[in-house]
């Protein structure tokens, strides 16, 4: 069980989504994810996913796969789709993109550190020192 605290009442679900946005926000700036800052690219990846998974959700609600406890929602519905679910389909894929780009940044740091260590241990001169690959195969682009 997660805990006995009973949450934010009607704002419970939306507050959870807000927490997801806040917790992942440092990935954009500290880990140079540059997801929000490439908004057209973000929307091109996000919108088809929002539409397809919202349709899945709507059909699943209509077929009684699941329902929502009205105590924990704002009560604002878009047809059968609670507002919170639409927010979910916007927030969670953005969190995934932030994670993906942040991991790419960390891999880039690790690659550069490895090159730095290799140069230091071999005592190479500045002329034959290996340059960091600007386009390493495993993500970590150095843009």
């Amino acid at each position: 069980m997660i805990g006995a605290w009973d949450g934010f009442g009607h704002w419970d679900y939306l507050a959870l989504m807000g927490a997801c946005v806040l917790i992942t926000l440092p990935l954009e700036f500290v880990f140079s994810a540059r997801v929000y800052r490439r908004l057209p690219l973000l929307l091109k990846a996000l919108l088809p996913v929002v539409v397809v998974f919202a349709v899945w959700d709507i059909v699943a609600i209509a077929r009684d796969h699941w329902t929502y406890d009205p105590r924990f929602g704002t009560g604002i519905d878009l047809g059968v789709l609670p507002l919170e679910e639409l927010v979910f389909f916007l927030v969670i894929p953005v969190c995934a993109l932030l994670s993906y780009e942040a991991v790419g940044t960390v891999i880039g740091w690790a690659n550069r550190y490895a090159v730095h260590r290799a140069n230091a241990s071999h005592g190479t001169t500045s002329t034959d020192r290996a340059k960091p690959d600007p386009h390493p195969p495993e993500g970590g682009d150095t843009r």
């Binding site: 069980m1 997660i2 006995a4 009973d6 949450g7 419970d12 679900y13 959870l16 997801c20 690219l41 973000l42 091109k44 990846a45 996000l46 088809p48 996913v49 397809v52 998974f53 899945w56 699943a60 077929r63 009684d64 796969h65 699941w66 329902t67 929502y68 406890d69 924990f72 929602g73 389909f89 969670i92 894929p93 969190c95 995934a96 993109l97 994670s99 993906y100 942040a102 991991v103 790419g104 891999i107 386009h135 195969p137 495993e138 993500g139 970590g140 682009d141 843009r143």
Partner: protein, 107 residues
Amino acid sequence: MIPEYTVWTVIGMLVVIGLELFVIRSGIFRRAQYWAALAICLGFQCLVDGWLTKLSDPIVIYNPDMFLGIRFPFDIPIEDFGFGFAMITAVLMLWQRNLNRRPEEAP
């Protein structure tokens, strides 16, 4: 009979995998970056989805006839992880496909 949410989840996963391998071909499945991000996301899904599905005070109430009834970890229906995999993989493959198309951002 296999429950409907279970069937839809498996189909959803297969459709996304098939789209990536044969249509979108972004190459994410060959990147450590994708697998690490997926692991991180599924880890955090346990917390977020655990809160949404906790049986003591569920925000989302699942129809027991529509899923396998296996809840792990916490009270999360295991199908949710297939749903999460499909959604996360879909958005990452579209994002990477669009990055590949931009020469200045190509891997």
